[in-house]
Symmetry: C4
Subunit: 481 residues, 4 copies
């Protein structure tokens, strides 16, 4: 067993050891491969990095990424002296007291306002930010407000049902918790609370490859109660064998109902709010000088987290990913009618329209516009695959509008991260709020079941001028397509 | 006769007695039926609830809703000790001094600004709020501002008449006071002032089922002077026999000219400002703990008031409601061209386009857009029924625009509630302001009588792109319609 | 000769004498005819009203409006004691010091900002305000900003001329000073400065019937230097003989080139800022109690000034007004294509598109939209009459846009009233600023003379969707037209 | 050798000597020819003007503009006493400390915010301002935000290249540094830093005739490393022989790849922020009294700098300008489809769409709209000439959008001026930021090389309604064209 003093000698880029969860790792050679840059690791060189590591990595990340010989053994816990003055506060430390009581939360906007107080600055920056000028981020919400309802009156709505199905699994409401990274930045229970709340309310939870809880923690959180399975969101790893192992593990657990590959984040979007908060922290702690700053782009968590994602993943890899599991396959982040049609023709079961919450490419179109384009020009796709959608959903009215246009299920990400700042109870309250809003909307529209929803209940005239034409292509471009 | 001390023993959910207007009621079994939740009643358990009860219920509400045996008898008034420190201030207590003088009110916007000062916080929240994000609330006003006039010049406008008719009854101006609940929250004279002012100025007052004054008070307020009759707005009760009794009573009074059934509020809209003010009060008074809060949705008056409304009321019930009275029948809250046509074909005499002041379903379309759609595509309906409209009307120009497009009469709700904070004189001043604005608008348009108004005086190009197309329906949806 | 003490006895509505310019008038019977209400006169009952009277009435107004026997004779000036403490400050008293120097004024916006400081509160309210919600007022400016230029490059623009003609009279720039009331509220030289500056810079000044200077003062201000004549704006008086005398006087002076009848202000628009400032003054001076307030609408100068205007003036009166003078005839305030065509067919020489600076009917269309409608659908009218335009013009670019669409001349009102707060020099500087901007715009557009301007230099696509269709008329309305 | 005392005697408009860089000049006769007015020179009459002269003039400007006999000889440096109290601070004095560190700059917006602190007030006003109401300035940026991408997913983007060519010269990124005046106002290294950074990153720098560095300084800054040549922007001088000499000098240096004539600034735009800051300085220094102010329009640098530009330059001069150099010819500031077509037909190799950064004619259209018009209606032009564009580009997404529509290269002006406040390193960081954003955008769009970009990757529906129609022309105008 090593002592902390042994570890402390390896405190530079020449030899860099860190302690995580009582284990000592030699990360010297890994420094330059770390997606978040070496600077963040060097802050903990020769020291215990557990508090900073845990909230933003799955437990097995180090073991997965380092060769076995770099795992040097356990450290004697008695030798560790917490060096509080020098180690920066881990960003994930949850505030002990929330400013507003959960009973005051009667809308998802309330949760967002509260989260801005409840979360650390860094967590807020990471969750709330979008790419560059955040135009897509803002438009994701505003487009829903431009769609009018056409409410039918004098219909018996004394009983209403929000039940539906997702890939054949019954759900109590066709909404789901989107795959988001690092839920533990909001609350220590992290994705486990998502899994529990989804089960309790009969909705689907789609777990992210970047989850801060492990697959086994999520699996353990589920009971034997009948409930929709989780779905698993997959980022394809540059080391394909890791993805293979992961998907097989997920499939084998028996608790997941689909594998959904993200296709819109093969490179990191530029989220400047996220980059800037980290930058400030680095500068404040005075650890890196100007000349030695290893990364001139800032210090975004998002960029750091995505470093392992394979930018070469393409349509040609579809058979490979299909071969990894018997579960139905989905593609998340499809953004054009052309790609939807391509995916449908290739037999993809689930097509998830998303612009990554406005976090990938700014001025990417709101997914609602893609959905509307499909509805207007290619309604046949809705019979060939299940179309899911996320981005900007904050109200039951938003959910119902997407369902009216043909979405089979509607996802929310940030609102649940914000609600999670109240722990499991917060996530449950958020689902209740949304369920009530969906029911009320249906009743005031004059419908009593999900299958009665349709485009005849909407007036989308304000958005229709934005539906794209077939493209104007030069001959040379046309030849390449 | 009971003593206050006897009553005070029944101060819990196990046995809950309250005093209203000197009568003692056992409301233990009613607690869980109260549309506003039991918490609000429990605040007065064992005590005198008159001050909180009166402004928001018609006098007979308790007697109507409880079986006779729950009416326990009178309390000895001498035994009641006002417990000022503990009883929260009734929200309806009208401020003794208004901040701005009535002579400064020269527009309806002035009344609105003044009301924000004159009214209690709760009354303001209840009156002013709309559903969820209040998009429909805001758009109700803004759409009128997008319609241009096409004023014709060089017309002799030395005399101008605003006279018209409503269902055959002569009116001095084709405007009316909308049915709104709980006018007493604005001023103790409540709906009685509406009835008197309407008579004095020759306009119509449509009384609400949720009025805080009783039908007989309103009937008594009217003199024998020739004036347009009141109309009566009906919420259909889950207990249909109560609606039958009510309509028969209204009809028998001889002071009403139509029964107008509301069809857009079979479930309560979500008015968060309203919900939140109540929530704060509950928390402030420290009566309910976190775990025991009986209603997680907040404490909205609107939701409380609507609990008795029958969500099963449908087109199939039209013959029943028609059978209750010989008076002409209207439907309030129609929001689509399809429902207007259906109502016209079923012989409904009055079709009232409304989105409930933006208080029911957010992003429901502004009624002006429905009116414009009718004018463009189905102008024949204006010859088959009288079309009324409300929502967002604040100016004489707004009134004239709706009349130009074919509305037979134009209603205003909130502005009269705000004016009522000055009592009867306030309501009269508001009518004067509006009458002057309507007259001036007509003269500057180059018309001298209501029947000269028409769409040729408007430029509605800014709104026309929003007129909905015939819906895109899948075969399965079409089959269901 | 009367003494001030004699006059002071007649200080009530029973007997009301006032002194103006040394003359004593008995205005008792006139009190109720005064367009501005009796209250404002009663403030000066029994006293010298000269300072309040002068800036807002032409000198002969009292003699014109009272029968000769009400002119009681001169007052002995030695008997007058100025009662400074009690007489409210006349609103027209020009601030002795301006806050910004004239050399800092390099745009018309600068003049507007400065005027807000230089002018009295009441003058600012009267000049700057528009009708009700001021939507037309704001849109008058914003529509110009939605028109793009299409600048042509590589044209020799080393010399550029802004010369043009108006009704055959050469002008150095085709802009003019609009007819506005009460210029003396801005500066004691009033309209005389307008007349002088217009002459000096070779532009046209259109004098208002509501001018605060007299016709003879304006005539005297002009030299024999060649310059475009003034035009005269006429409000038709309820007493037609007064209009006849006025037009004959104007014509006989030989200094005017056209009579332009205003057709869009037969009743007063509702300018609430104007109404409210007066109200405050009345309340402040404590002269009228609540019960005796003679006018519940407020105290607007605009409404007061317009009381004599004949609301019966119509197309049938065109031959009469034509018969009063040999000068060319114009109509000011035409707002629809239909009325333009009617006027052209009746041989009117000058058609002046205007919505009265947004002061008459709110949501009347911007005149630029009417001009654009004519250009698109009825370009032949530009060959049959001269089309003038005003409303929202603040920049040389605005002027050039209107000229490109076919306007023969472009008027500005408020900017010159604001510039006048610096006296004659201010008005001259404003013309210089505008001339330079027009020249620069022409050069950057690639044109060197006014006749080269045309719609090919504009992109009006942002406004074209607002051009009205032919109206949708019911048969009964069509029959009436 | 003259003494400073000799010079000091010539300190008025009757005889005005100044010292620049140790040389004494008699500028008495030049006073009235100085484009910036005489006042600015008179401030230095009889004194050393070097500090004020240098940052805003090329070194040889005085020698070029004065006859040889006005160069009076050298001054004895020992006789010069710095008169700090009286000489105003030269506007170009770079702040010694920048407020934000360069490492915090992660977007071009960051550089803009920092520059507002780093630069002098006057430099900020000159660089940042646009013409009059700055509508074009604002729209230049906002139009890019209205174009949506249509990102294609599942493409192998593991390697991406931004390489392209400009007039046959390979470039690493098809962006360039726009020609801007007076870079030394931002940093003493001025255009030399632009030339060095452009070489280092393989992009093109277009040098302005109004550069504050000389041609030879820029030439000297370049190494022999292979890099795209500079291009030279030419303002045609009223004295054509000066332009001839300049172009021959530029051509002879061998470091330039094209001559690009500016065609949209033959007269100065009205940049009021620029005019106003100078005005304040003049007033503060108390040198000019109100009556003697030599220029009532303010004190804009922009206007001063442009005084020599020939407003008569026209299409007829194209053969002359072509004859001056064998280099390819470009036109900068083309703003209509018509002029593009004309230029293409005349064989111009490079057409540079620009509205001069919103600094010339306000409400000129954004260049992106002209590019879109060409793409929609005249795509053949892209095969006949290289189309460049600038105006409002702040993001890699903006660059890629312009490239998708057919631009061969995309210029940025202000962002590089702002980055220059950090010297050479700032400019290099700005290029890096932009390069990273372009690469990320391409990857997220699913493309790996510039030639794969095309309009099929954009949704331009929000802008298409603004594409101008063919103009409506009267016969007389048509005849003139």
């Amino acid at each position: 067993m090593l002592s902390a003093a042994d570890v402390a000698k390896h405190n530079s880029s020449d030899s860099c050891w860190i302690i995580v969860d009582g284990q000592v790792y030699d990360v010297t050679e890994f420094l330059h491969e770390h997606p978040g840059g070496s600077a963040i690791i060097l802050k903990y060189a020769g020291r215990d990095a557990t508090e900073a590591y845990e909230p933003i990595h799955p437990p097995s990340a180090l073991d997965d990424n380092l060769p076995p010989e770099k795992r040097l053994g356990k450290v004697d816990p008695l030798t560790i002296v917490k060096d509080v003055a020098k180690v920066p506060q881990p960003a994930s430390q949850v505030q002990p007291l929330v400013k507003f009581s959960l009973s005051q939360m009667i809308s998802l906007h309330d949760f967002e306002e509260a989260a801005q107080e409840n979360l650390s600055k860094k967590a807020w920056a990471y969750f709330s930010s979008g790419a560059t000028d955040q135009i897509t981020l803002a438009m994701n919400q505003s487009v829903y407000q431009k769609v009018f309802f056409q409410p039918r009156t004098m219909v018996d709505v004394s009983s209403v049902s929000t039940k539906s199905t997702m890939l054949g699994h019954p759900v109590d409401i066709p909404i789901f918790i989107c795959p988001t990274g690092m839920a533990k930045l909001s609350h220590p229970t992290g994705e486990v609370s998502f899994a529990k709340a989804a089960e309790a309310y009969g909705i689907m939870f789609m777990m992210s490859t970047n989850a801060s809880s492990s697959v086994s923690d999520v699996v353990k959180a589920r009971t034997s109660k009948p409930a929709p399975p989780c779905f698993f969101q997959l980022y394809v790893n540059r080391d394909r064998s890791k993805s293979e192992a992961l998907v097989k593990n997920v499939t084998a657990s028996g608790k997941f109902g689909a594998i959904v590959v993200t296709v819109d984040a093969h490179v990191a979007g530029k989220r400047e709010a996220d980059e800037k908060v980290k930058a400030e922290v680095v500068l404040e702690s005075g650890i890196t000088g100007t000349g030695t700053a290893p990364d001139a782009k800032g210090g975004g968590i998002g960029r750091a987290m995505g470093g392992y994602i394979d930018p070469s993943f393409s349509w040609a890899d579809l058979p490979w990913v299909r071969s990894l599991s018997h579960l139905p396959l989905g593609l998340k982040g499809v953004q054009t009618v052309e790609d939807v049609i391509k995916a449908v023709k290739l037999g993809v079961e689930l097509i998830y329209l998303s612009n990554h919450g406005g976090r990938a490419l700014d001025t990417a179109p709101p997914a609602l516009l893609v959905l509307l384009s499909l509805r207007k020009h290619h309604p046949w796709v809705f019979d060939r695959a299940e179309i899911y959608i996320d981005g900007g959903i904050r109200r039951g009215t938003d959910v119902v509008k997407a369902l009216c246009l043909g979405a089979k299920a509607v996802g929310l990400g940030r609102p649940f991260l914000y609600a999670l700042s109240y722990g499991l109870e917060g996530v449950e309250k958020a689902i209740e709020v949304l369920r009530d809003e969906v029911e009320t909307t249906m009743q005031l529209l004059g419908v009593t079941s999900i299958d009665q929803l349709g485009p005849h209940l909407l007036n989308t005239k304000a958005l229709e001028p934005l539906i794209p034409d077939p493209p104007i292509l030069s001959a040379s471009i046309r030849a390449r397509l």
